[in-house]
Amino acid sequence: MSKLRVVHYINQFFAQIGGEEMAHIPPEKRDGPIGPGLAFKAQFGDEAEIVATIICGDSYFNENLDTVTKTILEMVKEEQPDLFIAGPAFNAGRYGVACGSIAKVVQKSGIPSITGMYIENPGADMFKQDIYIISTKNNAAGMRSAVKDMAPLGLKLARNEKIGASIEEGYIPNGVRVNFFEKERGSQRAVKMLLQKLAGKEFVTEYPMPTFDRVEPQAPVEDITKAKIAIVTSGGIVPKGNPDRIESSSASKFGKYDIDGVNDLTAETYETAHGGYDPTYANKDADRVIPVDVLRQYEKEGRIGQLNRYFYSTVGNGTAVASAKKFGAEIAKDLISQNVSAVILTST
């Protein structure tokens, strides 16, 4: 059987080209393994070989995201590999984001891909649901153990074999629950977990409850009569006809709507796209969900500085937390660019 073909991606540092001062270098491809590739080579033995290594500076990658991923994808495809490996990136933030971005793109093209990083690397949260990310130590001293987990999982992916649970394979949990057999029965594990908990020692739950971020409260608005106030809602209020076709449940998008000159929302002009409550009342008068009429009046009376020209709307009905988080980040960015100073969020 011929060896599986592997392409490896590393940054300028691990290619021993240089540190931060060389982070600007554009991507280049070299034959065979380099740097950490040698550790992979040893781990693969006769089963696979690194046919090429692609090197790119971290700054270059992150500053040229769109073009660089295309260039590197082409470089990878030329080698017709069975597997693509990026990193491991350990706790290097930009390197982690680069590894995650490129591995995701390569995997999407049909080539199995894997990377590795420290759980707190920002790239881990960004890409753990897209690609398998082996959980590594936070610095390159963990290279050996990282390679030991990455190589076998990579081979399994290349051979399209069944992938076990995160705890078996060593990848960062990706939200997909996978069954496996533990060494001890559940009751024994429960007793052990309780002993740890009673002793105030560390214990790891087998099923983490869904959690939500906490943010520091913002400082209060100093002068509301000068404030630019925007409306954001998960109540699904949209212009009549739902031009963006926001889904009635599990929304995949949000809408941004111009209310310049709109003094009142009426049954003829606005409606709700939300499928999680009786829409009769909102369809009759959408001000019942987003108070455009009142805020417009207050704007005229000078009680608030200004009502923002746009309001933002999505449907909060079975919508995944990850999607909501993404919408929130995009909306916040847009609000900041419009110098909005306060937001009223309404939910149904």
Partner: protein
């Protein structure tokens, strides 16, 4: 501004104004138009007051 305040607390909102009902948080179809507008103004006033209030933890503005 939400009707089910425990959910807002769970998801981490810091300034919370309780509203009327899920299908009409800022209105009440049982009222006349004028009454309803008055109700909505009261709720928006609460929201504006919340925005101008310093908070150090999650706070419900009843």
């Amino acid at each position: 501004m939400c009707t089910v305040t425990p959910i807002s607390l769970t998801v981490g909102a810091n300034r919370i104004v309780p509203t009327v009902a899920i299908p009409h948080p800022l209105g009440n179809p049982a009222y006349t138009m004028d009454e309803e507008l008055e109700l909505r103004k009261e709720l928006v006033d609460k929201a504006l007051k919340a925005l101008q209030t310093e908070v150090y933890k999650q706070t419900i503005f009843e």
